[in-house]
Point group: C2
Chain length 470, copies 2
């Protein structure tokens, strides 16, 4: 059994940037800030330029290559002005290699000395409650954290972030629905240290029952719970109407709690730095299908063009919609996932008890006591082409055995997919065509796509990496 | 469309015995009564001998060959005396061809001029409420009916009985759980005619909501319903504590109601005299299996030695017990029946969505909020030989995919049958051995056993004969 102190010491070494790394980061940051300032100097507008995010708060993990530079412009120029002027400045500052990206608002991504740099226009505000989008609030978050953090809290934040990355719950984007960097910082601020947080989560956290209100804005905790109604509620110290953990899913907080329990039971560096699962060979894959004895279907379609948050929102919604469609037609789903390379392909995967249902389907009709319904039921079924046997009485009800509309899942999907609740972009993709593959038919795609193969392997193993260490 | 009056006229002709038949019946009855009287004349006991049942009440259907002769002995000789003396008299009266049978009490079955004659000992009582068994009450029933019946009511009773035979709900024995002859007579007495009864049943009868109390013993109908709590309640005019329809099942009263509705909609002699279903050939049988796409399993064992009522009670109970066992192990039953020749073999038949289940089984564990249960769950499953994938978190719960104990139904039945709720005699039969046949494996047995073949055909058609005429 490894000592917890040894584990943490090992992690410190990995996550705290060296003086050399700091100098390199600082150098890149000041070069970029200078460039932006220069690019905006021609304008007759007050412009503030500063680093934000983990770099500005000194909570980045050693080796991170992402730097955020925010360009604050006056509120008066409006949303269109922000977009136009902000991006123009950013493009000039970026030089000849840049790409325009889009989250809630557009921003410019560029590169310098192997760092990826986001140049993000936002409004210059006096009060975070005037924020029009998340980025307007960011400078207030930076200031808040910097006003209270010391080196120990920064170190503990880095450890926590690495832990969350290791167990796969880091990142507030829709694809992950995990913990944001700012949320990590607030948790460390509240609990004082990584271990204190881990212990609290392991022992005391219950989903939908945790409220952290650092500034003590709210006095009635039950009211807060019912207003925010989220698995974890962390009131934003700079805006009491906001839950910093709003994007966190039930599943991710549960995974975090479970990992905390496991880590305290048996501390190990593998929680922070898991060894990567090795993908099954196609022979192993086929053998997995054989061992499970279930049927896998894969619905392959083209990937809609959309920013990742929009794309994954639609993919998850569509996965649920297709699952309900399968249930409706009596195919028993025992597991599923959706994969996408975010560019070319989307694959919805369902594991089923069976992809084949008997031709006949038992259908229970009205009770004898409802004479009118019985009459209708008999008239309808006695002349039906789909009647296989019955009607007969069982207990006090009429029962018929009908020809099942879809014993074949592929035919069902071909005819009924459009009745599933789908994201509109996914609907368009499916409308343009899709393939349904069964079991071993996936092998060719599996062999030609490593990332998909990894995802399917992960589904089949179906166990968090840290549970292997247990 | 056939006129209802024509239908009934046709039925009268068939069910009312001719003068010639009456003479032949009366002759057999008086010969047997004389023989019994003679056989009992040596005893120093008062003995009353008389015909009972439908012969005595003049409500038998033309062609019936069953005659009941009751031997009434004094209460003072006790149950053992009744058995000993009663049977001795009956045996002497029967001559050299008789067989001892058993219902609630033993009796002697013999033959005369092609009539089957039951010689039944019972007690001579002043009050039916002193009855120790059903037979003690019978003479009072006979007297009650004869005191009120006229030729019209007798004709209507015969029509009703034939209707019930035709639609398969006649007979209070456990195998059928239908309407007894006495119940038919009381229904006619109450409603006045066959058509009045049929109309009442079709329009107004609701299971568990019909109370017929000819003598108006009870004033509070709701109390009567809750005390007797039966699909049909007909208070015995000779014993107000007794529901004459106690043996009637929910299914049989519903079948009767449904047939009454159908008959009024489209009167036809086929309700009274259905054409017999023709049994499927074995080729047709195999084709039926193919069309339905389900799996049939047949559990064949030896027939327990017991009187029919005991046998069928046990068979039905065991059918339910086996069905629950199949459900418990996740085999989805969509229909079943039990067949027996009451002598040699018993066959339990189940139609299943599939007799084969995937190797893997999804098992949902405790929610993250129950730390202790989670710990136990993880410890248990992480070391289990049956873990195929997981544990993983879905929503707020741990989920594992385990090796299913019984993907194979035959192995399950071989290992688990004794845990089903079975009748004790059926348990012994199964303990001595049974066969499990799947689908076409039944063909050999099917071809060698016409009655079983007929029952399986009936199950597969799954429709009352009278519904064909609709």
């Amino acid at each position: 059994m490894v000592n917890i102190v040894d584990v943490l010491r090992f992690v410190y070494d990995k996550v705290i940037p060296s003086d050399d790394e700091r100098r390199r980061v600082e150098s890149v940051v000041s070069i970029m800030i200078e460039r932006v300032k220069k690019a905006s100097s021609q304008l007759n507008l007050p412009v503030k330029v500063r680093a934000e995010g983990s770099i500005a708060k000194d909570t980045w993990i050693s080796g991170d290559r992402d730097i955020d530079i925010f360009i604050q412009l006056p509120r008066e120029i409006g949303v269109n002005g922000l977009r136009e002027i902000g991006l123009r400045i950013a493009r000039i500052a970026a030089g000849d290699r840049w790409i325009e990206r889009y989250a809630e608002h557009p921003y410019i991504e560029t590169e310098l000395n192997d760092f990826k740099i986001d140049l993000v226009p936002c409004f210059m505000l006096n009060d975070p409650r005037e924020a029009l989008s998340t980025v307007d609030r960011t400078p207030f978050h930076t200031d808040f954290i910097n006003s209270l953090f010391n080196d120990v809290l920064r170190r503990e934040t880095r450890v926590l972030k690495q832990f969350m990355k290791g167990i796969g719950v880091y990142g507030a984007e829709i694809k992950v629905q995990g913990f944001s960097g700012y949320l990590c910082e607030l948790l460390i601020l509240h609990y004082g240290s990584f271990l204190d947080l881990i212990e609290a989560a392991a022992e005391r956290w219950r989903p939908f029952n945790v409220v952290i209100d650092i500034k003590e804005y709210h006095s009635n905790l039950n009211e807060v719970k019912s207003i925010f109604n989220a698995p974890l509620i962390v009131i934003d110290p700079v805006d009491k109407r906001r839950n910093v953990a709003a994007a966190l899913s039930l599943e991710k907080i549960c995974e975090f709690i479970a990992a905390c329990r496991a880590f305290l039971k048996r501390p190990d560096v593998s929680f922070f730095f898991p060894s990567k699962l090795s993908t099954f060979t196609s022979e192993e894959l086929v053998n997995q299908f054989r061992v499970r004895g279930t049927d896998f279907i894969f619905i392959i379609t083209s990937c809609p063009k959309a920013v990742p948050d929009v794309l994954w929102g639609q993919l998850y919604k569509s996965l649920r919609g297709l699952r309900r469609l399968l249930y409706k037609w009596n195919f028993k789903v025992i597991g599923d996932f959706v994969w996408s390379d975010e560019e070319d392909k989307v694959v919805f995967c369902f594991e089923l008890e069976s992809a084949f249902l008997p031709n006949v389907e038992r259908h229970v009709g009205p009770p004898i006591s409802s004479k009118e319904h019985c009459d209708k039921f008999l008239v309808k079924h006695l002349v039906s082409m789909n009647l296989i046997s019955g009607p007969k009485i069982e207990g006090d009800r009429w029962v018929v055995y009908l020809k099942r509309k879809y014993p074949n899942i592929t035919l069902m999907l071909m005819n009924e997919w459009m009745k599933a609740k789908l994201g509109s972009l996914v609907y368009e993709s499916l409308k343009n065509g899709f393939q349904v593959l069964l079991n071993e038919q996936i092998v060719e795609f599996y062999d030609s796509n490593d990332d998909f193969a990894y995802s399917l392997t992960k589904y089949l193993v179906g166990r968090p990496s840290w549970l292997l260490a247990n």
